[in-house]
């Protein structure tokens, strides 16, 4: 355990002693802030109109009208930014030759992978926690429900955790960071748009594609639905990514 933390600490130091983490966090917050502002603006005008009619006034729901779409926007931003966070994790070690230090130290490959994974998860958590400032405004001037909000954040975090695992896997395949990032983008986008293919498919094939798509599972969570099916999906996705990373590293060393 202490080994995992040693590796994670070094990765965090690398993130924060270079501009990487600051730039990613800042750009993420800027974009999320922009989307939040637009959504609240839209919500205000909608709410004004709906308030005229007692029937519609019942339907005004800030969770559904602001946070649900905001979570969708955030998930796309994460899809675009997390590959840039993960691309260096193994590729850089390989290029600089520092992997030789890691693999000749009494630290297991599993511990190295988990340490790096933990460091990126913490950066992701920081990105998400900082957006709570926006939620704080809504709590100050409105009365949203807390539970669906937390559920949405849980969804974002789990999805980000799955993205990061995919990113680590591709980083372990190459010593070129750009290649790692592009492969990660490709894979994530593919899993994202599977649901489009699912809409025109039928039968078992449709069900399978829907289950595999990031989108389908995330949609539930932004609506405040917490289903074990979705949890299992993201966790198994993350596990699978890390498992493949382990296989890649072991096979490189045994070739």
């Amino acid at each position: 355990m202490s080994n995992i933390w040693s590796i994670a600490k070094r990765e965090l130091r690398a993130y924060f002693s270079s501009p990487i983490a600051y730039v990613i966090v800042a750009v993420f917050l800027l974009l999320v802030g922009f989307f939040f502002y637009s959504l609240v603006w839209w919500f205000n005008s909608q709410a004004m109109q709906m308030a005229q009619n007692p029937y519609y006034a019942q339907q005004v729901n800030i969770n559904q009208m602001v946070f649900s779409p905001l979570f969708h926007n955030m998930s796309i931003i994460l899809l675009l930014m997390l590959p840039l966070l993960t691309m260096r994790l193994f590729a850089e070690e390989k290029k600089a030759g520092t992997e030789e230090l890691l693999y000749t130290s009494p630290v297991s490959v599993v511990q190295i992978i988990l340490g790096k994974y933990l460091a990126s998860l913490l950066v992701l958590a920081l990105m998400l926690v900082l957006t709570w400032i926006l939620a704080a405004f809504v709590f100050a001037f409105g009365n949203p429900e807390l539970a669906p909000l937390l559920n949405g954040y849980l969804g974002l975090f789990l999805m980000g955790a799955a993205f990061i695992a995919v990113g680590i896997f591709f980083s372990s395949l190459t010593e070129n960071q750009i290649v790692a990032a592009i492969l990660t983008f490709g894979a994530l986008l593919l899993f994202w748009v599977l649901s489009w293919a699912a809409s025109s498919a039928s039968g078992l094939w449709k069900g399978t594609l829907e289950y595999l798509s990031f989108f389908q599972h995330f949609d539930d969570m932004t609506r405040g639905i917490l289903d074990t099916k979705d949890l299992v999906y993201y966790l198994s996705f993350a596990f699978f990514g890390l498992f493949l990373t382990h296989a890649v590293i072991q096979s490189r060393r045994w070739r």
């Binding site: 590796i7 130091r13 690398a14 600089a96 230090l101 130290s105 009494p106």
Partner: protein, 308 residues
């Protein structure tokens, strides 16, 4: 301390190490000598557990490299050919990190870092980013990180490569100062490195063992003759013929302007040689001992010969 038995390593079709067997005793500095692409780095990577062998066995400090990799990793300090450094860390922080992953107990880490900083002469750069220090210092940081957990065995892959002459001397002195209970194995393709730093040598070429012995006995076994190289104003074949008549001289051969004179070990016809050079007015400019033995041996090995 280090024992290698019938070690084989194949990269696909390429056989980098072919049936290597040698043994290195405790408390000495051993050189792993061979031309480039002889299998030195591969052998060291196998010993440190970075690469698995295709076949054969290796033990370090009594632990089997393949069966007990973690014990071996704790017993070994390793400086790879490409010094593993994180440029964005300071020297002190980096060494602290290495102490952590080498499992130095938390309470002893600060002391361990202090100790290697002092041993490697890094006091002046301790707080600087590794990115900004000179190549010589980077090499020292590499040696310091290998020493941090006070390993019984130190494996250094080409520790002086790419350094300037003054730095080479410094690093050699540093390595010599580490001698003690520790067993040190360093690889090099430069013979002088071995003759100046090491007690013993393992010579390999194209993945095969060529010789493994202490430096003293290796020199004694291969050179039956001593010799000098004479630089003359009027050298050449005629001068060589004159020297051949001096009693005790076994062989004299012209090498451009110079003449190489050799004799059986135990005799010393140097007086006669000088007297002759003066009497015949050959214009003696320079006379220096001509290294035979290990240098010849190494050249012979590199050019494809074998020993014994």
């Amino acid at each position: 301390m280090i024992e290698v038995q019938n070690l084989i390593k194949k990269y696909g079709q390429l056989e980098a190490v072919k049936d290597l067997t040698f043994k290195v005793e405790q408390g000495m500095i051993w050189g792993l000598l061979g031309p480039n692409a002889a299998g030195k780095t591969t052998t060291m990577r196998i010993l440190t557990g970075y690469l698995p062998a295709t076949d054969g066995s290796a033990t370090v400090a009594g632990y089997d490299v393949f069966e007990q990799p973690n014990e071996v990793k704790r017993a070994i300090g390793y400086l790879p050919e490409v010094v593993p450094l994180y440029p964005e860390m300071t020297v002190g922080v980096f060494l602290g990190f290495v102490a952590e992953i080498k499992r130095v107990p938390k309470a002893k880490r600060a002391a361990a870092v202090d100790k290697v900083v002092k041993a490697a002469g890094l006091e002046s750069v301790r707080g600087r980013l590794i990115r900004n220090i000179s190549r010589g210092f980077k090499q020292r940081v590499g040696i310091a990180q290998a020493l941090i957990h006070d390993p019984q065995v130190l494996i250094l892959d080409e520790p002086t490569i790419g350094l300037d002459p003054a730095q080479i001397v410094e690093i050699r002195e540093l390595i010599k100062s580490l001698r003690g209970e520790r067993t040190i194995m360093l690889s090099t393709h430069i013979l002088a490195e071995v003759t100046q730093t090491c007690d013993g040598v393992v010579i390999i070429n194209e993945g095969r063992l060529m010789a493994c012995d202490s430096l003293a006995s290796l020199t004694a076994s291969v050179s039956r003759r001593d010799g000098v190289l004479l630089k003359l104003r009027r050298g050449g074949e005629e001068a060589a013929a004159l020297f051949r008549q001096v009693p005790g001289v076994e062989k004299a051969a012209a090498e451009g302007d110079a003449v190489r004179v050799e004799w059986a070990r135990g005799q010393d016809p140097r007086d006669g040689v000088t007297r002759l050079a003066v009497e015949k007015g050959l214009g003696l400019l320079e006379m220096r001992p001509h290294g035979l033995g290990i240098e010849d041996l190494y050249l012979k090995i590199v050019s494809g010969g074998t020993v014994q």
